[in-house]
Symmetry: C2
Subunit: 237 residues, 2 copies
Amino acid sequence: MSWRKDQGRAERGYHHGNLKEALLQAALDLISKKGPAGFTFADAARMAGVSPAAPYRHFRDRDELIASIAQRGFEQFESLLTQAWDDGRPDTVTAFERVGKAYLAFAREEPAFYSAMFESGLPPDANPTLMAASERAFAIIRAAAERLAALAPPGMPRPPAMMMALHIWSMSHGVASLFGRGDAARRKLPMSPEDLLEAEVLIYLRGLGFRTDQRPGTATADDKPAGEKAGPWGKPK
Amino acid sequence: MSWRKDQGRAERGYHHGNLKEALLQAALDLISKKGPAGFTFADAARMAGVSPAAPYRHFRDRDELIASIAQRGFEQFESLLTQAWDDGRPDTVTAFERVGKAYLAFAREEPAFYSAMFESGLPPDANPTLMAASERAFAIIRAAAERLAALAPPGMPRPPAMMMALHIWSMSHGVASLFGRGDAARRKLPMSPEDLLEAEVLIYLRGLGFRTDQRPGTATADDKPAGEKAGPWGKPK
DNA sequence: GGCTCATGTAAAAGCCGTTCACATGAGCTG
DNA sequence: CAGCTCATGTGAACGGCTTTTACATGAGCC
């Protein structure tokens, strides 16, 4: 094994060498275990093997650490969404749904990031760079909505892309925050959050005139809503 | 003026006489000012004019106070939703939208309740009576969805009412929690949260086959989606 | 080799949550 | 009304957290 500055205590001189990173990592652990409210600056310091005052060399205060985590969270989030969107391949609707799934997956698999980003109660205006990171993540959803809106069936009023993006975001965030996290699932559900969100988005898209019952090719106009086929919630028995 | 046990200190013997109520009230004030995380047991005691130990005669600990507030919140919420639903008068769709508006209004006007209910990070299973209150509130939405589902246009698969209810809830919560609170509005919006949610729900309902462009009478089947009329987001200029 | 400055420590102040022994007095009992 | 009791409030104390300040250390540069 080739460790040198591993966790806990082990071998370490007066200087840690990588404290900032260690603190962020520790904070992530703690937040995912006890939520952003239960997380403690002193605990993170302890976990990194330094005195309670040491973190102040790297973060103005506890809030700034949380903001840093939120910032990283938005960056990872953006990259995940970008990847899921994959510039709309193989077709716009499929890619769009993949983005929704990625949203939930992130909330589920990175609960610490997610709560730092959305449930930490930080004043959003206080931190311009954080705000910017959040905007960049949202921009992915917005770009996807833009492409989708362009495909809206002719003969219908074209939905504003920004509004669509906000709708999708609110659905995703709503599902994630009410039912999303696996470990401390807030409520019993008759279906998985993923399925719930997928159905929600499909119904919504159908409300905009998209045909969503068939996937091959690009989405096209649809003058009859889904006919006799099963709805997006599965077979009605 | 006829005060006797008013706030602050003023005239008061050894016993407060109404401490539990005073604490709940103080907590509401503080939570709405500084969020459920910033709220402090000692602060509430101070505001009620008692020693920091006094609250423990009425609440096992800080969490129980917050849970009490959440409980009351759910009760008020339930009553508000019931009133808004008004048993589906004058017609199901109108009443349904009124419920959505009531949801947002509650989040906006009672931010303290709302955060205690949804953002306090309390383990939901820890408190059965709290859980029950929350279920009762959700039951209103569910009942409304049930009625709406019964009106689903024939010839289309009937959407499960429970799923509809969950969808509506997630939309409402998503909008409320991302854009809802007026005082510390989290993000800039091109429209009001109310309009945003209304459009979202209308599009969703249309996706289920409801005609939503006209209100008079009860919702009926619709074999053509909204024709050339303006969408739920207003005139497309 | 010696300087400097980023990085860490120790100690302390002030706050909070929580507990415990004790004080008070409201309301019942007779 | 006297006296008892018990719910309710107090004061003091413990441990933990955040944050500040003065001081220590040693990595990197000349």
